[in-house]
Amino acid sequence: MNYLENLLKIFVSSSVINNIILIQFLGLCSYIGLTDSLSSSIGMSFAVIFVTVSSSILAWMIDNWILIPAGLQPALQITSFILVIGSFVGLVEIYIKKASPNLYKAMGIYLPLIATNCLILGATFINSMNKYDFVESIVSGFGIAFGYAIAMLLLAGIRERLRNSDVPAFFKGKAIAFMISGILSLAFLGFSGMIK
């Protein structure tokens, strides 16, 4: 029971309290770039959830079974994690291309972009820094990606409405997206202190 409670704590803390975008600022490029429309941000969220969870698993295996026993952890960690994620995104790309060509066409440009999304590499580093065990890493990876999806959908929903509203000339374009994120971030700050 205690272990389950611990897992729940990790999930809540990584998804809302330390929300990866609004509090920790990782993965902002796609957050600002892709939230122009609700549909593309939904597709991106699912892809990110999938890749983050699977690369959390792979990176944990490499970290704990190869790098730590061999004493290579600080020197080779960055290189091996980025290669894991890079090859993984490549695999996902090939799979989606085969399984559903339509989805592949719709996400074409954004799929390879996932490899350079700092959120996923960040999630593997967060797992490694907190010395999570195998299940904890999966839960934390899922929580982080879930937090990303929440933030994406919030901003995309607001920006869709914003299209028809009267924005001051100074803030037209990207600037207003940042201001809204600031306010959203203020709201998420309210969750801090929920877990000691």
Binding site: L22, I23, Q24, F25, L26, G27, L28, C29, I32, G33, P74, A75, L76, Q77, I78, T79, I82, L83, G86, T116, N117, C118, L121, G122, F125, I126, M129, A169, F170, F171, K172, G173, K174, A175, I176, A177, F178, M179, S181, G182, I183, S185, L186, L189
Partner: protein
């Protein structure tokens, strides 16, 4: 003149952070104190300049199909060097912003410059482009850090600047202010560039 233009382009008209809006994560996260901002700029320079040089020097022998994995491996090597160097010499600040220094490896500015500039231009030009992008990134980062730390804590790089009676505005060093500051700067620079365009 042409060489100076390479540097200038990266600082104002094509500022990587404010105009192209890439590499934002570390800018917003690290800009709540001047010390971390300076260390981050140092780490960024340690990766951006040498990786631009290496990619440009090897551009004729890198096959087009696998160029991205090669870029990433080069960048990862320099990121490891930068992380170990900052851990050795600036450990107290490094512990605070560790995650963001490790993540320089996926900083879109560095990968973007390797792809868009270093892969197509000579070694010396790429070196200048690296310097220009470092300045363009660093200026924004340090400027935001100065404003946020001064208002939020009343200090600069840990030294008390504001008088004792000053009540620090805590919000400025919390996450939301990072987004708001960037929003104001993006708005300001875009308005400035639009006006300049209008005059021509």
């Amino acid at each position: 003149m042409n060489k100076l233009k390479i540097i200038w382009n990266a600082i104002i008209p094509n500022n990587p952070v404010l105009i192209i809006s890439i590499g934002l994560c570390s800018v917003i996260a690290v800009s709540n104190s001047v010390q971390s901002a300076l260390l981050m700029t140092f780490a960024f320079a340690m990766v951006q300049i040498p990786s631009n040089i290496i990619v440009s020097a090897m551009r004729k022998i890198i096959p087009h199909e696998i160029r991205v994995p090669i870029f990433v491996s080069v960048i990862a090597a320099f990121t490891t060097i930068a992380a170990l160097l900052s851990q050795a010499y600036f450990n107290s600040v490094y512990q605070i912003i560790k995650l963001y220094i490790l993540l320089v490896v996926v900083n879109c500015i560095i990968i973007g410059r390797a792809e868009a500039f270093a892969y197509q231009n000579g070694v010396f030009d790429s070196f200048l482009d690296g310097i220009g992008n470092t300045i363009g990134y660093g200026i924004v980062l340090v400027a935001i850090a100065i404003i946020r730390e001064l208002i939020g804590k009343g200090t600069l790089a840990g030294i008390q600047i504001m008088p004792e009676s000053y009540q620090p505005m805590l919000l400025m060093i919390l996450p939301p202010a990072g987004f708001i500051m960037i929003g104001i700067l993006v708005g300001a620079l875009e308005t400035y560039l639009k006006r300049k365009e209008g005059k021509k």
